[in-house]
């Protein structure tokens, strides 16, 4: 992408966390998806095997690229492809499954540039059917990992199908970027 002012929003999460749906909700173009039949039961037939791509154009020369990246470590070569000049890192965590804190820790260590203060958010997806106390436990565990990594990031429930929810994420990332004086 050769636009003069082009930034990347990296959306990463485990199988079935909602990456493809979130990009569909945000993108102005039909997302380029790379899905295949899932080898495990994730409540749907297809899962992402490569990078999903979408875009939001802010004018002719300014755009935000949306990159949905599978969270499985065997795809970490894809993480390298998108980890430069990140405007925001969106980590999707499926609320209906036990958290994998070691895995979250590895993701943060890969993507977060402490010097650059890469803006980061953690979104709890599929939270509608999960009890509030369970969500609080999950959120506390995630906050503990973030704190250990000295990453300041909000954790909040979202609905990847909802435009309002998706726009809320963009709004927050934009506010977080106000402190970054260097171009991303």
């Amino acid at each position: 992408m050769s636009l003069p002012d082009y930034r990347k929003l990296v959306i990463i999460g485990d199988i079935g966390a909602g990456k493809t749906q979130l990009i569909q909700t945000l993108s102005e173009i039909s997302p380029v998806t790379t899905e295949a039949n899932s080898s495990i039961d994730i409540g749907k037939d297809l899962t992402t095997v490569g990078i999903d791509y979408g875009r939001i154009s802010l004018n002719e020369e300014t755009a935000l690229g949306l990159y949905g990246v599978p969270g499985q470590e065997r795809f970490s070569f894809l993480w390298d492809m998108v980890s430069e000049s990140v405007w925001g890192l969106m980590v999707l965590v499926k609320s209906t499954e036990p958290p994998r804190l070691d895995y979250l820790d590895r993701l943060l260590s890969h993507f977060i540039d402490a010097k650059e203060k890469t803006p980061c958010m953690v979104a709890l997806t599929h939270s509608e059917t999960v009890e509030h106390s369970e969500l609080k436990n999950l959120s506390a565990q995630i906050d503990l990992v973030l704190h250990e990594r000295d990453v300041s990031a909000p954790t909040l429930p979202i609905d990847c199908r909802s435009e309002q929810s998706a726009m809320l994420l963009l709004h927050t990332f934009n506010a977080m970027n106000i402190h970054r004086t260097s171009a991303t």
Binding site: D5, L58, N59, N137, D143, I178, T181, A183
Partner: protein
């Protein structure tokens, strides 16, 4: 009924991973066991150290503490305080995980009642304890009233958005307060979506009541310098944008057109 607060060290540091291996399983097992034995508690973890309070029937708490001392996942177990109590501090929590001790109301109350001012921790204990809680600060006191326009502010950590509705205005304000040092009401009004003093003051008061907000007297010269830094982010980072707007401003326009509410 009794309560014990203790610290210990994790023995299983996994290379490049900062948390104890299988922390989620440790928590799940602790919750299940504590429920069976009528024990409530809190647990925090920082840089390889655990801090825990467990409370419940005397015999059950003694047995649990004896188990912890022999648990191969812990080393350097040391008691901060043991108290007899008639009522639980940590009602409703089999094992509550607290990422930020200083903003947890139950933890802070326990500290105020039984630890702060006792000064009987060894130097080594104080050093580890300071990872979790600053005994010298006034964070155990009630939050003082804000003199809104005479103070500047910053956030200790993000609010818990499972208890508070995450609106764009609140998220934007918190992003400002957490990322760039101290900010005055004047700066916050200019850069956040709270258009009126009254609305901003109400939100600051709410954050203060939750012990999330730090404040100090306004320091004008520093504030002016920081304001220039923030403004830099709102102007084009290079001269390629013919419209003269930064990415930040264009995104703000885009979101305004989509009417995020």
């Amino acid at each position: 009924m009794k309560a014990i607060m203790y610290m210990s060290q994790s023995v299983d540091p996994v290379p490049k991973i900062w948390l104890p291996a299988n922390l989620e399983n440790i928590l799940a097992r602790a919750r299940s066991n504590n429920r069976k034995h009528g024990i409530s508690g809190v647990l925090s973890f920082k840089k390889g150290h655990y801090l825990q309070i467990v409370e419940g029937p005397n015999d059950e708490v003694d047995q649990l503490y004896a188990n912890i001392q022999h648990d191969p996942r812990h080393k350097s177990v040391s008691v901060i305080c043991t108290i007899q109590t008639k009522q639980r501090y940590l009602q409703d929590w089999d094992m509550k995980l607290i990422p930020f001790c200083a903003v947890d109301t139950q933890f802070v109350k326990f500290m105020k009642d039984h630890v702060v001012g006792k000064n009987d921790l060894s130097t080594a204990q104080q050093e580890v304890f300071s990872l979790f809680y600053n005994l010298q600060s006034t964070q155990h006191d009630r939050p003082s009233m804000l003199a809104h326009n005479e103070h500047e502010y910053r956030l200790k950590c993000w609010p818990n958005f499972l208890d508070i509705k995450p609106t764009p205005a609140l998220l934007g304000l918190c992003a400002l307060l957490i990322g760039g040092g101290w900010l005055s009401c004047e700066q916050l009004l200019a850069d956040s979506d709270y258009g009126r003093d009254k609305n901003l003051h109400r939100v600051l008061d709410d954050l203060n009541a939750q012990k999330l907000l730090e404040h100090r007297n306004l320091q004008t010269a520093e504030a002016t310098a920081r304001r220039q830094v923030v403004r830099h982010a709102q102007t084009p980072s290079d001269s390629n944008d013919p419209g003269g707007l930064s990415f930040y401003q264009r995104m703000k326009q885009f979101l305004g057109a989509r009417r995020v509410s």
